[in-house]
């Protein structure tokens, strides 16, 4: 059921939120054991929420009244375990809700549960979770991508109509691409980060993962906007996305950068994107070649900036106030032992790897060579985008260089894993918005994704271009066989 399907049922009084909850409980019961998209789920609580919603008067009912939304396990929901799929936050129930969650509640949604993820959003496969891996609904031997793998897999498997993810280097877009759904990384500052458990503060954004572009716009409409609790959120009005979404691409200038179609992008993906460009030409868009010369520096730059911030952001998990605390040994426990043992036991290997990397690049004597340098390159990458958007309205690239890979395939080789974000991370470094949407399937039936990138706060353009393409193709109508 799409959001619109549910809303029509409500409008015609053919169903209540309780009924809708029932219709989602069945597929969840049936598919969740196979896909394992949830980090936390409580059917009773869901039924209670539905009853609460039903008691609301018409005037109180918000724009997403009675629509189930799955929340990534790193976005705080008051009273609900929010753990970043990490042992170190085992059992942590925040005493407050993230701003996006507050906004969703005001819009009347049903909070469906918490979605599995790579621990602290460190990963591109959803295998680094203390709850075990999520599987790709299109092929259960494959990963759903990550880190928002649970969110994307649940939407693809029709267990949730809408989901929230977070994207630091591609964590919404790459799993959206692997799972054949639509994911948006909004402009940095478009959506409040208050209540999002930080990975890399200067790169993180919360964004919607949905089946269609229109639903994506609908969800962004609710969560976007200035938040006085987040100094990095933009104090700018949020446009009405529904108003411009149907305007088509006629006359729009779409840019293609050769740096995004180079080696590493497998032929099937490249062909799918080229076919999409042909489609855009037929729809009346103008395709232009452009250059993004600093793209090759994006990965090293990203892994310095992101790990540096992460090493500091994760310092608060030391067992003093919440989360996992190591038990004292027979000889008791010193303060330092409490810190180190709790962290040793609580963090998984990828989290430790990134904390060590980040600590190193900020160390005295190395700061300038690594972090200082990375900040300068980041400026150059941003400038590439500024220049590109002087000439085009939107960039078209593949979302990921390959379709979903197999579970375990890259787990032992972190560098190869890091390269699966090669096409998405520049966007975070530059702070621009990008939309990932399905653009075809491989011969073996795996979804492939296309990424649209626009200038800051031009999400309207992304929705407009994405919607035009979606209307002209029928990828979104395919369903995984589960």
């Amino acid at each position: 059921m799409t959001v619109r399907d549910i809303q029509i049922l409500y409008e015609q009084k053919e169903a209540s939120p309780s009924d809708v909850v029932k219709t989602f409980l069945d597929p969840i019961e049936e598919r969740e054991p196979k896909v394992h998209a949830f980090a936390w789920f409580d059917a009773d609580r869901l039924r209670d929420q539905a009853k609460m919603l039903e008691r609301m008067s018409n005037a109180e009912r918000g724009p997403l009244w009675g629509i189930p939304v799955l929340i990534k396990d790193n976005i705080c929901v008051e009273g609900v375990p929010t753990t970043c799929s990490s042992k170190i936050l085992a059992g942590f129930r925040p005493p407050y809700s993230a701003t996006v969650v507050e906004r969703l509640k005001r819009a009347g949604v049903l909070l469906l549960g918490m979605a599995n993820m790579d621990e602290f959003a460190f990963g591109s496969s959803c295998e680094h979770s203390c709850y075990g891996p999520t599987r790709n609904p299109w092929d259960l031997t494959r990963v759903p991508g990550g880190s928002s793998g649970g969110s994307a897999a649940a939407v693809a498997a029709r267990m949730a109509p809408l989901a929230l993810g977070s994207d630091t280097g591609g964590s919404i877009r790459q799993p959206a691409s692997f799972c054949g759904v639509v994911g948006l990384k909004p402009t940095y500052g478009r959506v409040s980060r208050y209540g999002l458990i930080a990975f890399a503060s200067s790169l993180d954004q919360i964004g919607p993962i949905t089946r269609t572009v229109e639903e994506n716009a609908l969800l962004l409409q609710v969560i976007a906007g200035f938040d006085p609790r987040d100094s990095t959120s933009a104090d700018l009005p949020v446009p009405d996305y529904a108003r411009s979404i149907r305007e088509g691409v006629k006359g729009l200038r779409l840019g293609v950068a050769k740096e995004y179609l180079g080696e590493g992008v497998v032929p099937e993906v490249r062909q799918a994107v080229e076919a999409a460009l042909d489609q855009f030409r037929r729809l009346g868009a103008v395709i232009q070649e452009i250059s993004m010369p600093h793209t090759e520096y994006a990965i090293p730059t990203y892994y310095i900036v992101a790990t540096a911030e992460a090493s500091s952001n994760l310092a608060r998990f030391e067992g003093v106030r919440y989360g996992h605390r190591a038990k004292p040994g027979r000889d008791g426990q010193t303060m330092l032992q409490m810190f180190t043992q709790s962290r040793e036991e609580g963090f998984g290997p990828e989290a430790k790897r990134r904390i060590i990397l980040g600590t190193f690049v900020l160390s005295s004597g190395y700061y300038e060579a690594y972090y200082g340098h990375a900040l300068k390159v980041r400026t150059l990458i941003k400038r590439d985008f500024d220049r590109a958007f002087e000439r085009v309205d939107c960039l078209v690239t593949p979302t990921a260089p390959t379709p979903a890979f197999r579970l375990g395939e890259k787990l032992e080789d972190p560098l190869t894993m890091y390269l699966s974000d090669i096409l998405t991370i520049s966007v975070n470094l530059a702070g621009v918005p990008a939309l990932a949407l399905p653009c075809g399937f491989t011969k073996s039936g795996l979804p492939m994704g296309m990424q649209l990138i626009a200038k800051p706060f031009a999400e309207e353009t992304l929705f407009r271009v994405g919607h035009a393409y979606e209307q002209a193709t029928d990828w979104i109508h395919r369903e995984p066989m589960l």
């Binding site: 705080c76 925040p94 208050y194 990095t232 310092a315 030391e318 003093v320 106030r321 919440y322 900020l362």
Partner: protein, 492 residues
């Protein structure tokens, strides 16, 4: 060998904003543990800081009051280290772009060298958040964490190493505290921890060029709970370092803790502070430009500062410079003084102005010291009472000597000086006849002194006056006593 101490001081000032620096929690001192906390200052997962504008404005006020230049762009950094009182695992502070730089404070001369002003340059003034507090329970084998103080706004005021003696350090702190009180941004209360000080000290050869960078090994002293402790610890370190250098030992760059009871510093285990703080720009707070109009507005709102006020006291109340400086070094004393002046009867202020100053700087200052009260308000002796006291003397109702007694009694009982005089029957005897009667008795009792006077020994008169004062228990007006005695002797 002769050494010259090279001393710099780091002062941490708690700003008295109603709420914390990055959240809306109250900053009130003394609330029950962990009652003034929220997700932000608890450092819960997912929270973000938002700068309290008042902290920035207070910061600018202090920086301008210390003659600093204001940084055109405000940037915060994270200072990373693990400690249980630091909820986020990092302190949000300022690093290479502090709020204010390049200021100075002019310190009036020390007691050893009065009247010789010296200048102490201010290296930097920056904003940061305070940490929480640990309460250790060694018997129970655990420690408790109180995060009420976590996120309380601090200004760190770092001087250049321009101080050369413990006395100078003490005077600098007094002057600095005076300025900060005038700026009304902090309670400046060392006992409550709203003003804290760490000292840095090294020794240079006395012959070394003052303009060259100091060459000695720098030692940081912490755990200084009063200005006196600062001076004492510095004196101790000067001796300790001097002895070590004389013995050819190599000093360690280290942090030492002052033990006020034993009167000595002790090295901390170096492991505990060998931090690499891994400073980097705080990504959760956006750097912002400071509009120059904003600085101008704060600058125009600055109050009259101690030096300006002292000059005005000299001009307006005709006080000696030393008195004016002493009165104005504490804002509360200066305010008290001016409150007294306003209460003086119109048209005859000139001489009482000086008298009020003398009382404030003399007896009242001593009383404050003895009673260990902080500020004149602590004495419970309102300006009206002092004016009354001065007036009682001025109108001859009591002598200066009696006035001291009256003051002591008034402070003890809380009564006004006039009420004390009345209750104790202390009024000065100005009745010529009763003094004459007493004087006759004195002359009878001291025939030798009377004879000596007759023979031209003028000083005998003073002896006789003293005897008369004794007989009247000090109640006789001394001038009148002398007059009456002379009259009687001459008419014999």
């Amino acid at each position: 060998m002769e050494y010259r101490p090279v001393i710099g001081l780091e002062v941490h000032l708690q700003l008295k904003t109603a709420s914390k620096i990055f959240c809306g929690c109250s900053t009130l001192f003394g609330a029950s543990p962990n009652s003034q906390v929220c997700p932000v200052c608890l450092g819960l997962p997912g929270v973000l800081p938002v700068l309290n504008r008042q902290v920035f404005l207070y910061g600018v006020r202090v920086a301008l009051g210390l003659q600093c230049k204001i940084q055109p762009t405000i940037v915060f950094h994270r200072k990373n280290y693990f400690y249980p009182d630091l909820p986020k695992g990092y302190q949000i502070s300022q690093y290479d772009l502090p709020l204010g730089t390049g200021g100075h404070v002019v310190v009036p001369g020390t007691a050893a060298a009065p009247g010789t002003d010296f200048k102490v340059r201010i290296h930097r003034v920056h904003m940061e958040e305070d940490a929480g507090k640990l309460v250790h329970r060694p018997e129970e084998g655990y420690s408790l964490v109180d995060l009420n103080r976590a996120g309380v706004p601090l200004l760190e005021i770092v001087s250049e190493p321009d101080l050369e003696s413990p006395e100078q350090a003490h005077e600098y702190l007094k002057t600095l505290k005076g300025i900060l009180e005038y700026l009304e941004v902090s309670d400046c209360d060392m006992e409550k921890g709203s003003l804290r000080c760490d000292a840095n000290i090294s020794l240079s050869p006395a012959s070394a060029d003052r303009t060259a960078p100091p060459t000695g090994t720098k030692v940081e002293i912490k755990n200084l709970n009063s200005f006196k402790a600062v001076a004492r610890s510095l004196a101790y370190e000067i001796k300790r370092q001097g002895r070590a250098l004389d013995a050819g030992e190599k000093l360690m760059q280290e942090t030492r803790l002052w033990d006020d009871v034993q009167g000595m510093t002790q090295g901390m285990r170096s492991k505990e502070f060998a931090h690499d703080y891994r400073y980097f720009p705080e990504p959760d707070l956006v750097p912002f430009a400071v509009p120059s109009e904003e600085i101008d507005r704060v600058g125009k709102g600055l109050p009259e500062l101690p030096r300006q006020r002292a000059q005005r006291f000299v001009d307006q109340y005709k006080l000696p410079t030393a008195d004016a400086v002493a009165l104005t070094s504490s804002r509360s004393t200066a305010d008290y003084y001016e409150a007294c002046i306003r209460l003086l009867p119109k048209g005859k202020e000139a001489s009482p102005c000086k008298a009020v100053a003398n009382w404030l700087l003399g007896d009242l200052a001593r009383e404050m010291n003895e009673r260990n009260v902080d500020g004149i308000e602590g004495l419970k002796f309102p300006p009206g009472h002092l004016v009354e006291l001065v007036d009682l003397i001025d109108s001859g109702k009591i002598s200066g000597k009696m006035a001291k007694e009256v003051l002591t009694e008034a402070l003890q009982s809380g009564q006004s000086p006039a009420a004390v005089v009345q209750a104790k029957g202390l009024s000065q005897v100005t009745d010529r006849e009763s003094i004459r009667a007493a004087a006759r008795k004195v002359l009878e009792e001291q025939p030798q002194a009377a004879a000596d006077y007759k023979q031209g020994k003028g000083q005998s008169l003073m002896f006789l006056v003293g005897q008369l004062m004794r007989k009247t228990k000090g109640a006789a007006n001394p001038g009148l006593a002398q007059e009456v005695l002379r009259e009687l002797l001459e008419n014999r």
